[in-house]
Symmetry: none
Subunit: 215 residues, 4 copies
DNA sequence: CATGAATGAGCATTCATTCAT
DNA sequence: TATGAATGAATGCTCATTCAT
């Protein structure tokens, strides 16, 4: 269903990332994330990728296909961010560390763009939005929830709904930061500011979910 | 920044809302929120507003100007949403009620549109995004924080950072709901689902911020 | 189903042939008949019509729509060619006169173009080709056949299949002329040449369909 | 005008029909006749010929050159269609047989294509159209005219203009059939229908050109 | 010789904007 | 003031052609 990309003989098998394709993805990524799907033009993308407009269509079926490839890649990229959910580590270490890393990723300079861009188009490309959400966001929630469950099994936490608790922590970590960032009201927050917010989130979380006697 | 609207002599000064202007704003609102800034066309807007394309340019300097006016109005409109922050009401009543109303607004069917639309354009129109954020989101946080401070003064709560606490509650209320909704992964949540999430948020909030002996 | 053409107020009702629309049709006719549907470009048409490319789309929905309008008009135009089939006139007058007029129309300089152009596209736009055939060609055959029948009723002719006989005469009139003309092997034939061919066709026709004793 | 084909040393001189060239001609023929000159793309042709696009340009200078080669070949091919004009056969056998075969070729399903395709391009490539006409159509007329002359010499027919008479017969054989077919108004006619039309044409022809006493 | 990746000019079409009325 | 016809630049996309390998 997907057009086979050119597979020049001088490339060894499996080297599907011909430099042209890479070039295009990189250029397109920049332009799409900066201007959004509608705002980006294939001409601009070609210029940014330093290839001809025609070449774009050798590697991708159309604008939407190129966009989907970018989102797919972004999805893979973001899904790869490996938060440390080693169940052997205690919650006092894991939660603040995860919270900081998580918010840093969300609010990294020029990095909210992917989320914003996908969110923007989600109404017209629901499948794409939904899959991005599932792989990038829900996936992290799931892993975090699993960690919480593991620690609860050790008696460190008392939680009835792990999914919800995971979400609550992650949402609190963004408090004051992410929305201001994505609306361009504030720039990327400093690590110190992140630390403060995450620490507070952690305290609230423990207040609710740590057994009293352990306090 | 906004073009002076026509001010026909038969209208008293100050009656800037000529019915044509209203018509245009209403039509444009619908189209912009449905299709986004780039997706909307002046022709479609003219049709939706039942005026000629030319008339659009009598009242607004250009597409961006019309869009800005819509956002401005949306800002005013959403800022008006009157959550009940009467400082006389106790937290057990106010928090769940506010939380439910807040999430219902965020996730109302077809209603994430304004947030999504503004967010989408924020990279290219940062000023606009920033102002929307400030008036719509930050404004609600401020009023909620003021309420919390009022109740804290009565000894009902113990909070060091009211802004942050307000944010934390509001963020927790969205847990599992808003992001899934805006990415089109889930439809608008049911009132029951909202109630569950908000109740949980409330419990966590109280666990952290309600004085122990009051428990 | 057809987009309403602009109907400027300064034109009286019924004056649907705004000069711009006429201009476009004239320019498009020239370009389409010269280059064929695929060979013609909207840019060339716009230039030939001395309007902007955008204006083309104000009056016609797309290239195919403009082409169909041209063919429709050509159909009407060619259908209007009024051969004299007055049943009161005898066959010795009517047949040669009709034959000459018919071939002159078929082979008029620059005039085979419409037939050629429609024929060329008939494979991809069968409906259009079929309708052109019906209105332009079959229509004339029908009227001619009716004339023959009228004269046969007077005993001037003896024919079993009027349609076929009409076709036979018309086909013979084109002998050596039309195909050479349409393949650009010969230029438009001279009136003298046409007369010779038509006279011969008439003789053959009479030999077959005129009662012996009337010879 | 035609580019010299590659002439590899291992092929004896004169073996210009390298299999690649054959492949290309076959593929191109299919595509050109189906889609017309403008409708056909070199990419499609390459695919149909199972060669690379580059190879097309090894054997032919450009699209027009390849098209000309196809038409040239079609010309040769159609010129070869061997109607039986054995002067020893009498007209009662030869005419109906030839008429049927001729119309069957003209109207064979998917077979008007060559005629249509060449006719379509004749305005822009007059030389090509003219040559096709001469070789394919005029050639058959010539041979048929020669046959008529031979039979006239035997006293079987009395004809003053053999060319014209040949044309008249051939034109009558197409009556009601070919034009309807090429305009897509009717499908390929059945053999029975062809036989009826050809028989009638034969009768008319004999009525005009067979000596009276032989009737 | 044969390839197919790469090109850039050209295509049909859309749309924000202008302006005579 | 309000119109809507007209524009022309820009868009997404195709395709004949070239050329390094």
């Amino acid at each position: 269903m997907v057009a086979a990309p050119p597979n020049p003989l001088h490339l060894v098998a499996g080297d599907e990332e011909s430099s042209k394709r890479r070039q295009i993805l990189d250029g397109a990524r920049k332009v799409f994330l900066e201007l959004g799907f509608d705002g980006a033009s294939m001409g601009e993308i070609a210029r940014a990728a330093a290839v001809s407009k025609g070449t774009l269509y050798v590697y991708f079926p159309d604008k939407a296909g190129l966009f989907a490839a970018i989102v797919e890649e972004e999805k893979r990229e973001q899904g790869k961010v490996a938060f440390n959910f080693d169940p052997a580590r205690d919650v006092d270490t894991t939660l603040p560390e995860f919270g900081r890393a998580y918010v840093a990723v969300l609010c990294r300079p020029g990095g909210g763009s992917a989320i914003r861009t996908v969110m923007a188009i989600a109404e017209r490309m629901p499948e794409l939005g939904s899959r991005f959400y599932t792989h990038v966001i829900a996936h992290t929630v799931d892993r975090f929830a699993a960690y919480l469950e593991a620690r609860a099994a050790l008696g460190e936490l008392v939680i009835d709904d792990y999914q919800l608790a995971a979400w609550q922590f992650m949402q609190m970590c963004q408090a004051t930061l992410f929305q201001a960032f994505i609306f361009q009201a504030n720039p990327s927050p400093s690590p110190e500011r992140i630390a403060d917010v995450v620490d507070s989130a952690t305290r609230v979380f423990f207040a609710a979910y740590r057994p009293k006697q352990a306090d």
